[in-house]
């Protein structure tokens, strides 16, 4: 049976039954209407149960961490995109110009971080929503699944760029790859810094996911 009245707390009603009902009457009693005391409580209603303030605090923390992660990713993207170095000498056979768009790994780095940064900006709205309504589970779960996906993407972008940066620093004897950092020092420094900033964003993503999982727990 369904009813639309929804009182928020306990209430009791005394109903006068009389003598007739006690005389072996196994029949049904008339349906008693429930006391309609309070307005309809829905999922968007006031959150008064215990444990809500904890979720609110973790939502606020979540919001702050997202802002920091946006900063880190922006730093990574800007640092990588502004790499451009041309050495002052040239020969006929060798190129002496290095920039991020000549290496596909760095292009992937920029694109991956841009997608993650865009997602973080959009998810700020959702995060604010979970601050206002801490009991929503659907929004947190959605945030968690997309956080996981974006974390995997950012890790992939940062690691592939890190592998190339490592190779640029050290070279590889077996494959006869010479490390170019001796010549392109500024380029190397900027790309290394960008990779570090991206890994900071990855760590922040990890914290976001664990905090979301913590605040998703149901009370017994």
């Amino acid at each position: 049976m369904a009813t639309t009245a929804a009182p928020e707390s306990s209430s009791s009603t005394a109903i006068n039954v009389g003598d007739k009902a006690g005389a072996g009457d196994k029949g049904k009693a008339p349906l008693v209407p429930l006391p309609a005391a309070a307005p309809k409580a829905t999922l968007f209603g006031p959150a008064k149960a215990m444990g809500t303030w904890r979720r609110r605090v973790s939502s606020v923390f979540d919001f702050i961490l997202r802002v920091i992660a946006i900063g880190a990713i922006l730093a990574a993207i800007i640092t990588m995109v502004t790499t451009d170095e041309t050495l002052p000498f040239f020969t006929q056979l060798f190129q002496f110009h290095a920039s991020y768009d000549q290496m596909p790994a760095f292009m992937f780095f920029v694109i991956g971080n841009a997608i993650a940064g865009g997602y973080l900006v959009l998810s700020l709205c959702y995060s604010m929503f979970t601050i206002i309504r801490p009991r929503l589970v659907g929004a947190r779960l959605l945030l968690l699944i997309f956080d996981t996906l974006m974390m995997a993407l950012t890790t992939a972008a940062a690691s592939s760029a890190a592998a190339i940066v490592y190779l640029a620093h050290n070279g590889n004897a077996s494959a006869n790859w010479v490390g170019i950092c001796q010549q392109f020092q500024n380029f190397c420094q900027r790309t290394s810094g960008a990779v570090v900033a991206s890994f900071v964003a990855v760590v922040i993503f990890m914290f976001l996911i664990v905090m979301s999982a913590l605040s998703l727990r149901r009370r017994r």
């Binding site: 049976m1 369904a2 009813t3 929804a6 009182p7 928020e8 707390s9 306990s10 209430s11 009603t13 005394a14 109903i15 006068n16 039954v17 009693a29 349906l31 008693v32 429930l34 006391p35 409580a41 829905t42 190129q95 290095a98 000549q102 290496m103 596909p104 790994a105 589970v137 947190r140 779960l141 968690l144 699944i145 996981t148 996906l149 974390m151 890790t155 992939a156 972008a157 940062a158 690691s159 592939s160 760029a161 592998a163 190339i164 190779l167 590889n172 004897a173 077996s174 494959a175 006869n176 790859w177 170019i180 990890m206 996911i209 664990v210 999982a213 913590l214 998703l216 727990r217 149901r218």
Partner: protein
């Protein structure tokens, strides 16, 4: 409705609120005292803490967590197979070209490239972690209410996902470089010489990426199991 002495009646309302109605007969005053208590619950998951008749109302909901845990277990087994296959395929990659000179190497092994070493190590660590957490996963199937162990698993699954994704992407980057080379840095593509080494190494990436997808789904499943009442 038929009232009896101290009978508790459940009333499940379809959307999001739930009432507990208890009744007591007050013989002295010949009245029936009805007490309603507002117990709220999640939308659509009409869970009740007491009483058998409630199960009939909510259909198969008590067993969703078990299904989630079973699926989680299956995905873990899939991820074990993927990471193990990747580690073995990369670890046994070895090629020697039939000619040699004084200055140039003509042997290729996974340990020549640090990224590939990291890939093998990362896959091995993740495989060992998954094998150790299989009992925990079975525990979740049996006892669906375990909350702290699920949280523990979510934390470590996240860390392992990052490790695995990191290893796989670094190896992919180097494999791409081996296939196409790089004009800026004058890095020659070694796949033209070491053909079978390149193929083997490229194929070993597939298992790792499959395990990454499995991990993402595992984390989401654990989190959604945490958010359910059972």
């Amino acid at each position: 409705m038929h009232f009896d002495c101290l009978q508790v009646i459940h009333l499940h309302i379809n959307t999001d609120v739930l009432f507990l109605i208890s009744s007591k007969q007050d013989h002295l005053h010949n009245t029936l005292v009805l007490q309603t208590q507002f117990v709220e619950t999640m939308k659509g998951e009409g869970a009740l803490e007491i009483g058998e008749p409630s199960r009939a109302l909510i259909g198969g909901a008590p067993y969703v967590n078990k299904d989630i845990s079973i699926f989680d277990f299956i995905l873990r087994v899939v991820a074990i197979i993927g990471t193990l296959a990747s580690a073995i395929a990369m670890g046994t990659s070895h090629e020697t070209l039939p000619f040699f000179t004084q200055f140039i190497h003509f042997k290729a092994k996974y340990s020549d490239l640090p990224s590939f070493t990291f890939f093998v190590v990362a896959n091995s660590i993740v495989c060992a972690y998954l094998v150790f957490t299989l009992p925990l996963s079975i525990l979740h199937v049996i006892r669906s209410r375990a909350r702290n162990t699920r949280l523990f698993l979510v934390l470590f699954d996240t860390v392992m996902l990052v490790l695995l994704a990191s290893g796989a992407s670094a190896a992919t980057s180097i494999v791409y470089l081996a296939h196409t080379g790089d004009a800026t840095a004058n890095w020659f593509s070694i796949c033209r010489q070491f053909h079978s080494f390149c193929e083997r190494v490229s194929g070993s990436l597939v298992g790792s990426f499959g395990a990454i997808v499995a991990f993402i789904i595992i984390i989401f499943l654990s989190a959604s199991a945490l958010s359910r009442r059972w």
